[in-house]
Amino acid sequence: MSLSLAVFLILGLASVIFSLLMVFTKNPVHSVIFLILTFFSIAGQYVLLNAQFLAVVHIIVYAGAIMVLFLFVLMLLNLNSAAEPKQSARWKLGAAIAAGMLLVTLVGALKGGIQIAVPENTNPQVGLAQNLGRVLFTDFVVPFEIAGILFLAAMVGAVLLAKRDVKL
């Protein structure tokens, strides 16, 4: 077993465990913590995949911004495990069966079906900021601008929604 495979397996196992914990934990604040841990292990995967810039952005955006937002809302609303609504056991069983069947079907459908032609001379520079920046501002400049507009709209929408008694 090579080192990289070992790292992959450890990170993968960690992300699966943390995500399961995130799902099962009663306290939503703990859920957030476990989700952040899951994101960190996924960021590790990115590093392993030689996508360093992506890993950094991932940490900053997800762990740094989005999850903080979640935490902030949780704190604002003062939700804890006591306020957590209970789900019935029968429903949990049904949900487990559904999700499990989805997994089985997905794996069954994708198993052995993936044939990619890996190029002989892979470019190790692909995941670097320089390269990504060039692609982003040349080939993807229009979607990039549109993403900016999306952000603006989301920002306005979020402010509007969260504000009390908005006079339009």
Binding site: L54, I116, P119, T122, G127, A147, M155, A162
Partner: protein, 106 residues
């Protein structure tokens, strides 16, 4: 050729991201707290991100990673608007239980 490309078959990433995705689905299904449901959705998005990044590296093509950025954009916007809505709902119903949001029925 990269070390990781040589040693880890792409199938492994597929299985891992399928598993994470299904855990996300499972979480959406069993949790009643709307905020946790949103978090599970984020997990599902991340599962897809991981797969995209893996393919990007295996094919030595930057487009996959660019796509991940755009997904992050959407996820961030979604989280901002979704949480805004949730705050609004909580203000009106004093709960984030999605079972209380069943007025759109019958």
């Amino acid at each position: 050729m990269l070390e990781v490309v040589k040693n880890i078959p792409i199938d492994y990433y597929v299985y891992l991201s399928s598993l994470l995705f299904c855990i996300g689905v499972f979480g959406v299904l069993i949790r009643r707290n709307a905020i946790v449901v949103l978090m599970c959705v984020e997990l599902m998005l991340n599962a897809v991100n991981l797969l995209l990044a893996a393919f990007s590296t295996y094919l030595s093509d930057a487009q996959g990673q660019i796509l991940v950025f755009f997904i992050m954009v959407v996820a961030a916007a979604e989280a901002a608007v979704g949480l805004g809505i949730l705050v609004m709902i909580f203000r009106n119903t004093k709960t984030t239980d999605i079972y209380s949001l069943d007025n759109l029925k019958f």
